[in-house]
């Protein structure tokens, strides 16, 4: 059997999180009634003119700086000409020869623990198209232009990816990055982060790339992986059967789990790009770029490394806690409020808190338990007011909104018993009630120690300090 190598490049469209569109003052809010957010400019009315949204340019620059790219001091908007009903002007305003972001890179982590640098050829600003709706209109399609003119950053990678898994790792890393930077909401269901994949295969060692197919409609990480895997297999099967891969656009069908040729739409595209005469070159001065740089947040990789060093966390834990900016902020706020104990905080944020969030499908920003509240609870573990076990009960109450940790402990009488004489009283009662087990224990059945601990905890409703219980019980059982 012949060995094959896969070559993948991704084109990712990230919707920029501006209030208004890239060339008009219409709102970009998602989910409005059809065509209620399509103004005269978005509709391509005769005589209208585009004016660039400064914030879209700023976001593109921030992205460029974050991936260590060259930010072009002068970039040019061009028209990409083609006819389609969701494209009102008959051209898309994009950047062609001179994009705003050129030559950057992103490091991805692979499953074997190694990392790989993926080149980013370019990232350019462009406008989104509208949507065609095919349901409900007999033999007709309905056109909604609310999305037309929404700012997009198209991020084009080098053909550096060698497997579907790498492609997904890259896409996830990029997703994390744009969300971190606050330039994209990352909502894939709403189409805020979309992916097209260029996939080809070649025989291992062949210096030439094979003919590539472009796969569209990849709007989830899972689809990207499945579609690429399907496509790799299709191309290999095709070549091994003596066929040839044709350069074409293919659509991923998630229901069938396959890619299909879109020949109908493809016929001889000739986009006739030329500089948009309505838009002068975008010239960015030092001041603009410096301001963008100053607004850059700490990037995920840097934050992760800092968590390892500053908090003594494992690389894995640091990765989990820096998965999003909000989670990292929450964690750090918890540590700060508690005044230390980074490991305890990490365990709780990644443990109980994460579990509750998952169960209710919330993200950290929607947590009913704030960082200060959580720290309040952890403080009582730390000072032994409550045990770790009782803390779980307190946490549930916190989540349910019953007030802060101290009030809950007080109200429910959950304060840990640390008074030796009180614990001794309980132990005495347990021993008195279980003469048979006592005898067996003293006869050498050490395993029964756990039974006594359990009984003591049960009788104390879990409030007895476990360490003290252990010590006192060992003493008393000796007799």
């Amino acid at each position: 059997m012949m060995e094959w190598e896969t070559v993948i490049g991704l084109e990712i469209h990230a919707q920029l999180a501006t209030q208004s569109k890239i060339f008009s003052g219409a709102s970009t809010a998602y989910g409005a009634e059809p065509n209620t957010q399509a103004c005269a400019i978005d509709l391509g009315m005769p005589g209208v003119l585009p004016v660039l949204n400064r914030e879209a340019a700023r976001m593109a620059v921030i992205f460029g700086l974050a991936i260590g790219a060259d930010v072009a001091r002068r970039s040019v908007f061009a028209r990409k000409n083609y006819f389609y009903p969701d494209l009102p002007k008959g051209y898309q305003i994009s950047q062609y020869e001179l994009p705003v972001v050129q030559k950057g890179q992103l490091t991805i982590d692979l499953e074997d623990g190694s990392s790989k640098v993926i080149g980013i050829t370019r990232a350019h600003l462009e406008e989104d198209a509208g949507k065609s709706l095919h349901e409900d209109f007999h033999e007709l399609s309905g056109i909604d232009l609310n999305r037309a003119g929404t700012p997009l950053l198209e991020i084009v990678s080098e053909p550096d990816l060698r497997s579907a898994k790498e492609a997904v790792a890259y896409m996830k890393k990029l997703h994390q990055m744009v969300v971190y930077l606050g330039i994209c909401d990352g909502n894939m269901q709403e189409g805020s982060f979309r992916c097209d994949a260029n996939v080809s295969v070649r025989r291992t060692g062949d210096p030439k790339f094979g003919t590539r197919a472009e796969i569209k409609n990849l709007n989830s990480f899972r689809f990207v992986e499945r579609a690429i895997e399907f496509e790799i297999e299709r191309q290999i099967d095709l070549i091994e059967a003596g066929g040839k891969v044709v350069q074409e656009t293919r659509l991923y069908d998630p229901d069938q789990g396959e890619t299909r040729s879109m020949r109908g739409k493809e016929e001889a595209n000739d986009y006739r790009y030329f500089p948009d005469p309505d838009l002068l070159p975008l010239v960015l001065d030092d001041e603009f770029i410096a301001a963008a740089r100053a607004s850059l947040p700490e990037l995920p990789d840097v934050k992760k490394q800092r968590f390892v060093e500053q908090y003594g966390l494992s690389s894995y834990d640091a990765g989990v806690l820096t998965a999003s900016r909000e989670l990292g902020d929450y964690y750090e706020a918890t540590v700060a409020a508690l005044g230390g104990e980074p490991k305890l905080c990490a365990n709780w944020v990644m443990g109980d808190l994460a579990a509750f969030l998952n169960k209710e499908n919330r993200d950290i920003a929607q947590s009913p338990v704030g960082a200060a509240q959580l720290a309040g609870l952890l403080r009582r573990i730390q000072d032994q007011t409550i045990s770790g076990k009782i803390a779980k009960e307190v946490f549930e109450a916190l989540w349910a909104g019953e007030g802060d940790a101290d009030a809950i402990i007080e109200k429910r009488g959950l304060k840990q018993i640390t008074d030796t004489s009180a614990i001794e009283k309980v132990i005495d009662a347990v021993i008195a009630a279980n003469p048979e087990q006592l005898a067996q224990y003293r006869a050498g059945k050490d395993k029964l120690f756990g039974f006594f601990v359990g009984q003591v905890m049960k009788l104390s409703k879990g409030k007895a300090n476990p360490q003290q219980v252990n010590d006192l019980l060992a003493e008393k059982l000796k007799g």
Partner: protein, 95 residues
């Protein structure tokens, strides 16, 4: 540069213009004549001359990110050839 009716048909398709077969030769003649006129440009060597896309040497003046446009759907769709439920209708788009 001389264009024939077949080339005119190809260009017309790119431009989404239906041209009747009987009109194609005339368009081909006109277009060829225009391209001959335009070919006078080749008399001048322009090596190293920077292309001029705009008459004024100015930069883009971006606007602030503010929502300034209110919904005017009824107003805009009053002049639309065919709408239903707020959508513009076209023959089925095949994807």
């Amino acid at each position: 540069m001389s264009l024939g009716p077949a080339e005119v048909a190809k260009i017309a398709h790119l431009a989404r213009l239906a041209i009747r077969e009987q009109d194609a030769p005339a368009y081909a003649r006109n277009l060829s004549a225009i391209l001959d006129l335009v070919a006078q440009m080749n008399a001048v060597d322009t090596t190293g001359v920077a292309p001029m896309a705009h008459p004024l040497d100015m930069a883009q003046r971006p606007r602030a990110d503010e929502v300034t446009e209110a919904n005017q759907r009824e107003h805009f769709q009053a002049i639309a050839p065919r709408v239903e439920a707020g959508l513009y209708l076209v023959p089925k788009v095949i994807e």
